[in-house]
């Protein structure tokens, strides 16, 4: 039995590949930072759903948290870390390469 050669898809970052997280990361990639409410309004996710994805991304070091104040109320701004940006760029390249290699 011959072992098939590794496909670019085998190396894809599954943390980013999940559609909901991809949505969040792509959005944060084009922004400097955003709070939870903004991410909810743009992605259409519920608080709990967004929160669970955020936790995973934060644990992986892709997401940084910045505490600010909205008037007198504390507010949490979220941004992609350099590691997260790099991971997203790599993911883009891998996916682009994969689809470029797919015959018409």
């Amino acid at each position: 039995m011959t072992i098939p050669p590794p496909s670019p898809l085998d190396e894809v970052d599954r943390l980013i590949h999940e559609p909901a997280r991809l949505k969040i990361i792509a959005l944060l990639y084009v922004l400097e930072s955003a709070d939870f409410t903004f991410l909810m309004s743009q992605t259409g996710m519920t608080w709990g759903n967004l929160s669970s994805h955020m936790t995973k991304l934060e644990e992986s070091g892709y997401l940084g948290v910045e505490k600010t104040f909205k008037g007198k109320r504390p507010n949490t701004m979220l941004k992609l870390t350099d590691k997260g940006r790099q991971a997203f760029q790599t993911y883009r390249k891998q996916m682009t390469q994969f689809f470029d290699d797919v015959p018409e």
Binding site: A26, L27, Y29, V30, L31, E32, S33, A34, D35, F36, T37, F38, L39, M40, S41, Q42, W47, S51, K70, G71, N75, T76, M77, R92, T96
Partner: protein, 212 residues
């Protein structure tokens, strides 16, 4: 390539969501309407001081209402965001355009005042002033619309621009000064458009209950 475009579109959608609340339309419509109220106050027989005082009071009220609406209506629904460097540069360009516009506006005001006192040189100010006003409004709103990526500003700029020239044309045709009513009518049109957007915004973006 299409991937690049999609990311750009994503950023653009996020940016434009801040104009979805219609509050800028309401604010700019009220400012135009206030110009009409200012003219009516001038005609009302009130002293210049009182007329100016009432106008400034209303102006401050509109500005406060705009700030409060953004703070208490928009932000709780849409959240806070910081955009990238390109948007910041565009904001600076918008501020510069506004600054130049204010300078042009002040010059126009001073010349108008000189014309009223009969101290201006003998040039056709009746034609020149409306032309300068219209050009200033078209350029300013056009550039702001472009830099802020906010298309409705072109329409608002057009309504601002035609008000004074239209007043002059109607005056030469009928002998009646429609000025204040034109300002109020065009201002009301812009406000109505803003309210429609605001209602749609309130429906689409409910207040978020939980906290991060």
């Amino acid at each position: 390539m299409s991937e690049k475009l999609n990311l750009k579109e994503l950023e653009r959608k996020a940016w434009r969501s801040f104009f979805d609340d219609g509050l800028w339309d309401v604010y700019l419509g009220l400012l135009l309407g206030l110009m009409g109220i200012s003219s009516l106050l001038d005609r009302s027989g009130l002293s210049e001081g009182w007329a100016m005082g009432i106008y400034i009071g209303l102006l401050v009220l509109v500005m406060l209402a705009f700030w409060a609406a953004k703070r208490f209506v928009t932000v709780p629904r849409i959240g806070l965001v910081k955009f990238g460097r390109e948007r910041k540069v565009r904001r600076i360009k918008t501020a510069l355009v506004l600054f130049v516009s204010v300078v042009v506006g002040l010059v126009v005001m001073l010349v108008t005042s000189a014309v009223k006192r009969g101290a201006a040189p003998d040039v056709p100010w009746g034609v020149l002033m409306p032309a300068i006003w219209a050009l200033n409004m078209l350029v300013v709103f056009g550039l702001m619309g472009y830099f802020l990526d906010f298309q409705r500003l072109y329409f608002i700029g057009l309504l601002y621009a035609i008000t004074i020239p239209l007043n002059e044309i109607l005056f030469t045709q009928t002998g009646i000064k429609f000025g204040p009513y034109l300002f109020l009518t065009f201002g009301a049109i812009i406000v109505v458009v803003g309210i429609v957007y605001l209602l749609r915004f309130l429906r689409n973006y409910p207040v978020v209950q939980a906290d991060a």
